[in-house]
C-alpha cells in the first residue's frame, strides 16, 4: 500500500496542468447557472471555492460556505455518466452506394482522453457499475469502452453530504471505494489535500508532484472528515431483503399511490448515475442517402419505452414506477451482482414531485407487513341493499 502524501492547493493546480500537458481534458465540478456540474475546467480557479449546496426533495440551492474549501458540496447535479456515456452518441454513419448497397463508418468518440477530477464515492461506484453493465458481459459497448479505457479517475472524499444523501447505506461512501487512480481528502487549517494513489497510474501522477508524506495529524484529520460526514448523512435506506420485498410487492397498492404523485418526467433516470437504458435511432436526411445510427439516453418512464406494434406493455405510470424501482433496487442484483443504487440522492433532489425512494421503500415494507396479517376477503356491507 503506497504512502499517502499531502498536496497543497498549488500541487492540485500542478496536477491539473500536467494532465492538460499530456493531452487530457480535465473535467471537474464547477458552477454553471446556479448549479455545480461536471464540466471542462482550465484550472483550480474554476473549482467551486467556498460553494456549498442545499439538497432536499425537489430542492437544490447553492449557498456560500464560510471557507476556502473547493469541494464543500455533495453530489453535483450531473454525474460522470454524461461524460463517459453521453446522452447522444454516434454509433456509425452510413451512406448509400451507387450499386444499391450502403457503406458504414463507425463513429469515433471525440479525441482527447478524459481526466475526471473530484468524483464522489457514489459516482465512482456508479462508474464501476457501468463497467459491469457495459463492459463486463458478452456484448460490450465499444464506444463506452474506448472512452473508459484511457480515462483517469480522481476521487474526492465527501465531507459535506446533503440531506438527500445515503451513500453509507449503499456502501459507496462518504470515503470513495477502490477504482480511482487517486483519492483526495480535502483538509483545512491549513488548506491541503491528503492524496492516496489507487493504481500504478495514480502513483506515477503523484510522483511527479511536489508533496510531503502525510503525518498522523493529517490522517486523523482525514478520518475526522469521514466520521463527520457519516454522522451528518441525510438519509438511510434499509436494504434488508430488498429484492424479495420488491418482487413480492408487484401487486402492492403502493404503486398506485406513488403514481398519483409521479409525473413520469424521467428526471430521475436522467440524473441517476447508474441508469443506462438507451434507444437506438436511425437518422436520415431528405435525400435518403444518409443513415446515422445514434445511441441516445432513454427512460423506462416513457410510455414509448415498452411499445410493441399493437401498444405499450406498461401504459400506467404505476407500472412504470414499479419497473424503475424494482429494477434499481431489486432485479439489478440478479442481473449484475450488485444493487443498482449508489445512494447519491439525485433522484430525490431532482424529482419535481419530491418523491423519495427511501420513503417509498419504507411504505412498501409497511404495507407488506400489514398485508401479511390480513385475510383476503371482501368486507361485507349491511343487510340493507343500497342502490
Amino acid at each position: 500500500m503506497p504512502e499517502s502524501v499531502i498536496l497543497d492547493p498549488d500541487g492540485l493546480q500542478s496536477l491539473i496542468e500536467r494532465l492538460q500537458a499530456r493531452g487530457y481534458r480535465t473535467i471537474a465540478p464547477t458552477v454553471r447557472r446556479g448549479a455545480v456540474v461536471l464540466a471542462d475546467i482550465a484550472g483550480l480557479a474554476d473549482l467551486p471555492r467556498g460553494v456549498g449546496d442545499e439538497q432536499a426533495p425537489a430542492h437544490y440551492r447553492l449557498r456560500p460556505t464560510e471557507d476556502e474549501r473547493l469541494f464543500a458540496f455533495a453530489a453535483p447535479a450531473q454525474s460522470a455518466k454524461a461524460v463517459l456515456f453521453p446522452p447522444d452518441e454516434l454509433l456509425w454513419s452510413g451512406r448509400r452506394t451507387p450499386e444499391g448497397g450502403f457503406s458504414i463508418e463507425p463513429g469515433e468518440p471525440d479525441g482527447a482522453p478524459i481526466a475526471l477530477i473530484g468524483l464522489r464515492g457514489c459516482d465512482l461506484a456508479a462508474i464501476a457499475i457501468h463497467d459491469r453493465v457495459l463492459l463486463g458481459r458478452a456484448s460490450v459497448d465499444t464506444h463506452y469502452a474506448q472512452r473508459r479505457r484511457d480515462a483517469i479517475l480522481i476521487a474526492v472524499t465527501c465531507g459535506t453530504p446533503a440531506s438527500t444523501c445515503f451513500c453509507s447505506s449503499m456502501g459507496t461512501g462518504p470515503k470513495p471505494g477502490s477504482g480511482a487512480d487517486l483519492t483526495l481528502t480535502e483538509l483545512v487549517d491549513p488548506h491541503r489535500f491528503l492524496a492516496e494513489a489507487g493504481t500504478p497510474r495514480g502513483e506515477e501522477l503523484l510522483a511527479a508532484l511536489s508533496s510531503r508524506p502525510a503525518g498522523p495529524e493529517d490522517s486523523d484529520a482525514a478520518e475526522a472528515v469521514v466520521a463527520a460526514a457519516v454522522a451528518a448523512m441525510g438519509r438511510a435506506l434499509d436494504t434488508e431483503g430488498l429484492p424479495e420485498l420488491l418482487s413480492a410487492g408487484a401487486e402492492s397498492p403502493h404503486w398506485s399511490d406513488v403514481a398519483a404523485r409521479c409525473l413520469a418526467c424521467s428526471n430521475c433516470t436522467s440524473v441517476c448515475p447508474t441508469c443506462f437504458c438507451t434507444s437506438i435511432e436511425d437518422v436520415s436526411d431528405l435525400t435518403g442517402e444518409l443513415d446515422e445510427r445514434h445511441r441516445v439516453w432513454d427512460s423506462c418512464f416513457s410510455r414509448e419505452y415498452s411499445r410493441l406494434h399493437s401498444g405499450s406493455v406498461r401504459t400506467s405510470v404505476a407500472s412504470r414506477y414499479r419497473q424503475w424501482l424494482t429494477h434499481k433496487l431489486g432485479t439489478w442484483s440478479a442481473q449484475f451482482g450488485t444493487a443498482g443504487c449508489v445512494g447519491c440522492g439525485r433522484c430525490i433532489t431532482w424529482c419535481p414531485a419530491g418523491i423519495d425512494l427511501t420513503e417509498e421503500v419504507a411504505s412498501l415494507r409497511e404495507l407488506a407487513a400489514a398485508a401479511a396479517g390480513r385475510s383476503d376477503t371482501v368486507p361485507t356491507d349491511s343487510d340493507v341493499l343500497e342502490d
Binding site: 458478452a138 456484448s139 469502452a145 437506438i280 432513454d298
Partner: protein, 283 residues
C-alpha cells in the same frame, strides 16, 4: 474494475450491421413476406432454431425478426409482417436490395430436448414463422422423435402461412398437422375454432412430450394452460416471448421482463420460469 481492459483485444462492436442481399422475396399472405438473404461477405449466418436477428432497413431503422429458414443451412430466410415503418420497408424490399443484419441472437427452441418422445408444436398466426426452423429440424431428424404434432391456428384461410411446407410435412415426414382458423368463409371446409382447443384432443403423450408454443401472448397463455391441463410438465413447455427491443445484445435495457433480459436470457423460455411473470399485468 477495468483491470485488463487495456490488455484485452479491442472488443467487437455489436452494433455494426452486416450487409445481406435480398435474392428472393415471396408474398406469403397479404401483409407478410419471406425474404431470402445471402451475406455480402460470403460468411453464412449459422443459427439455432428460435433465434432472431436485428434487421435493418437503411434510413428507416431496425427491428428484431425471428429467423424462419432452415438451421441446417441454405439461404437465410426471415418472414416479416408489415406492422410498422421498418417492417413496411423490409416487406417492400425488392430483389437486389441490401439490408443490414445483426445476429443471430437469443436462446432457441432446443428441439433436441424432445428426442425420444413426442413433440407438440402449437403455433398461432405469425408465430408459425419462428417455429418453422424447429419443424424443419424435426423433419430432418424425424427418426429421433416419436409422434410429432403441429397445431396451427390462423385468423382466416388466407392468412395460413407455408401451405406447401404443411403439405410436405404431412406427406413425407409423418408430422400430424391440424390447421384451424378463427373465422372461415363459406368455402372453407376445414376446422374453425381456437387452436388451444385442439390441444385437448391431439394425439400425443403429455407425460413424455416436449411442447413448443409461439404466437400472441394471450394465445400462448391459453395454449400453455391447456397443455398443463393435459398433464404436460411446465418445464417441458417452451414459449417465445416478445418485448420492445432496441439493441438485441442486452445493453439498452428495453426488453426486460423482471430480471429476464429477453434478447440474452430468451426469447425462448421454459414455461415454469415464465408462468409467475405472465400473471403480473404490465410487467
Amino acid at each position: 474494475m477495468t483491470a485488463g481492459l487495456a490488455e484485452r483485444a479491442a472488443p467487437v462492436d455489436p452494433m455494426l450491421p452486416r450487409r445481406f442481399h435480398v435474392v428472393d422475396t415471396h408474398l406469403e399472405t397479404r401483409d407478410t413476406v419471406t425474404l431470402s438473404l445471402v451475406p455480402e461477405d460470403g460468411v453464412d449466418l449459422a443459427f439455432a432454431a428460435g433465434q432472431f436477428t436485428m434487421m435493418h432497413a437503411f434510413g428507416v431503422g431496425e427491428v428484431p425478426i425471428s429467423i424462419s429458414g432452415d438451421p441446417a443451412g441454405g439461404v437465410l430466410k426471415h418472414t416479416i409482417r408489415d406492422v410498422g415503418a421498418v417492417t413496411h420497408a423490409l416487406v417492400r424490399a425488392p430483389r437486389g436490395a441490401v439490408v443490414g443484419v445483426r445476429g443471430p441472437y437469443g436462446t432457441g427452441w432446443e428441439v433436441e430436448r424432445g428426442a425420444g418422445g413426442d413433440v407438440v408444436v402449437v403455433a398461432g398466426g405469425i408465430g408459425l414463422a419462428p417455429l418453422r426452423p424447429a419443424l424443419l429440424q424435426l423433419a430432418a431428424h424425424r427418426s429421433e422423435y416419436k409422434r410429432v404434432v403441429l397445431l396451427y391456428g390462423a385468423r382466416s384461410p388466407e392468412d395460413i402461412l407455408f401451405g406447401d411446407d404443411l403439405d410436405l410435412w404431412v406427406r413425407e415426414h409423418d408430422i400430424d398437422v391440424a390447421v384451424t382458423v378463427d373465422y372461415g368463409p363459406p368455402s372453407w371446409t376445414g376446422r374453425v375454432g381456437l387452436v388451444t382447443t385442439l390441444v385437448a384432443r391431439a394425439g400425443f403423450d403429455p407425460h413424455t412430450c416436449q411442447a413448443l408454443v409461439c404466437g400472441p401472448e394471450v394465445m400462448m397463455r391459453y395454449a400453455a394452460t391447456a397443455l398443463v391441463d393435459r398433464g404436460v410438465p411446465p418445464g417441458r413447455i417452451r414459449l417465445s416471448m416478445e418485448r420492445n427491443m432496441k439493441c438485441g445484445v442486452g445493453l439498452c435495457g428495453h426488453c426486460q421482463m423482471r430480471e429476464l433480459i429477453l434478447c440474452v436470457d430468451g426469447p425462448v423460455f421454459d414455461y415454469d420460469q415464465l408462468a409467475p411473470l405472465m400473471d403480473i399485468r404490465e410487467l
